[in-house]
């Protein structure tokens, strides 16, 4: 299927378009946060502590009087950044390893690279992040690194499976028969033909990475105060759960809607790009 036809098919699906719309909106909010936020998200105002939502503070204020809406708008930055960079790391680790493993096969595949992937899968991402935070300090960079490493095995497996099946196809065989080097065949013929499934996996991984970043920030391992993030705001919100509902409601809702948007987008991509799972 050509890419332009895939795009046309994608935009014929209402849920996929909704997902696309949500993702673009969150991206725009993250980019233009300074212009959109009504207040300084880091500046405490001790005259306005824990104010309920009103016309002045649309979503209320937090425990030191900061405007919640402004903090959520800026919080989008941490989540988007973590989602994209972590997955970039995962793709950077996973695709080369998987491609090599599947295309070259043999000893390198079964004894070295796949066992490495098994070892990586055995570590829950959050546990990996705890260890890395202990060694390198808890901050957004460490969190992104941990999430990236944690999401890499899925890319290793996917790229390997794709390379294994593409290797046997006639056009790859033809490229090999023409005397092209292995690395050239891998990069010019095998890799471009797995972009569809890779794109689908990328959207799944972005959704999971955003969830992981908010979980780590919730534990205090990701974004550090006073920088706003959805996860750390929820952490504060838990402490006031009984009396101050907006502090735990809106940050969670922001995460949920964003991840749902990425998920809808990903399902749309899968429907048009990955014929295997078409339901």
């Amino acid at each position: 299927m050509t890419w332009s036809r895939a795009v046309k098919q994608f935009f014929r699906r209402p849920l996929a378009v909704l997902g696309f719309f949500i993702v673009v909106s969150v991206l725009l909010v993250a980019i233009f946060a300074p212009h959109l936020a009504p207040y300084d998200p880091k500046k405490p105002d001790f005259m306005a502590i824990l104010q309920a939502p009103s016309s002045q503070y649309l979503l209320g204020t937090d425990e030191v009087g900061r405007d919640l809406l402004s903090r959520l708008i800026f919080g989008a930055r941490a989540s988007i950044q973590a989602g994209l960079l972590a997955v970039l790391i995962a793709v950077g680790i996973g695709v080369p390893i998987g491609l090599l493993s599947g295309y070259v096969g043999g000893w390198l595949d079964r004894v070295v690279l796949m066992r490495l992937a098994d070892a990586m899968i055995a570590f829950p991402t959050i546990v990996l992040a705890l260890a890395m935070a202990a060694a390198l300090g808890g901050n957004l960079t460490t969190a992104m690194l941990a999430i990236g490493i944690g999401s890499a095995p899925a890319f290793i497996r996917l790229a390997r499976a794709q390379a294994l099946s593409l290797r046997e196809q006639e056009f790859v065989e033809a490229a090999r028969a023409l005397g092209n080097s292995s690395s050239k065949v891998m990069l010019k013929h095998v890799l471009p033909n797995m972009l569809g499934p890779l794109l689908v996996q990328t959207s799944i991984a972005v959704a999971a990475a955003i969830l992981a970043e908010t979980a780590l920030s919730f534990l205090g391992l990701g974004v550090q105060p006073p920088t706003p993030s959805w996860g750390s705001t929820l952490r504060i919100g838990t402490g006031y759960m009984q009396s101050v509902r907006w502090l735990s409601l809106y940050p969670g809702l922001s995460i949920f809607v964003t991840v749902l948007g990425v998920g809808l987008l990903g399902d749309g991509l899968r429907d048009v790009l990955d014929p295997r799972d078409r339901g």
């Binding site: 066992r115 098994d118 260890a131 202990a134 390198l136 979980a215 919730f218 919100g237 969670g252 749902l260």
Partner: protein
Amino acid sequence: MLGFLTNRILTAIPVIILITVAVFSVMHLLPGDPTLAILGDEATPQSRAVLRERMGLNRPVHVQYLSWLGGLVTGDLGRSLVDNTPVKRAVSFAFPVTLQIALVSLIISITIGVPLGILSAVRRGGFVDAVSSIFALSAISVPAFWAGILLMYFAALQLGWFPSSGFVRFNEDPWRSLHHSILPAIALALRPIGIFMRMTRGSMLEIINSDFVRTARAKGASETTVNLRHALRNALIPLFTLIGLEFSGLMGGVVVIDTLFAIPGFGRLIYSAFLRSDFVMMQSLMVLFSLVVIVVNLLTDISYSLIDPRIRYS
């Protein structure tokens, strides 16, 4: 079968060794001096030197690694740097708690996710399919800790149906123990519910359209028989691998959920070890965390091969 089993177990061994090397290296990159963490900033150089010697930190790194590995193999997980209790004892208290919550969570996710997936596939394109597909994607998109907060607020604090936090051990009071594990288990189950539903739906759809199911239908078998006896049995096979994969997420999830619900499980143990820079405790716990994931994956692989003989020979 025996060949498959030995092969599967033998490949797990280098993976476990790789993990111990990785964990050990990461933990030894730690910037601070562990003796400072234990004795405090006012410790004299002499007392720190004595402690270093006692902890074996003056030995070459590979000797330290091997003695730690030897300990792990013989069941000696070391002692906590903070209160000097054996890590093994802390683990034996926390592990059953986490196992219980993980099992309850798996049972919930399978009993909801699989039937929903079947229903969706059988009523493909209909209203039920649309609603449960959106439900599944939502369940995957909800952060477990936020779901936990909402459950805690509505089901525990507002309605009073469940305790809002804490835990009772199963051997003390099984009923209350289950009661305490329901909310955390639901929070952890949401993602697997969505994943299992989508997987069951997908593989059911594939199988419903396959030749042997068409044959069964042509022979006059009722729609229910076809769906449940012929299609479902085959559709469930991939579920086993998925359970293994989801288990890793579940073990990560307990870190957040234990903290939120104040549950004395594995998650809280490793998180408090992190907060107290108890690196001996962390080191052993990390290996145990991944060991649990590996063992569960091994078990699912084995049960998978018992059901589907094709796996053993591929």
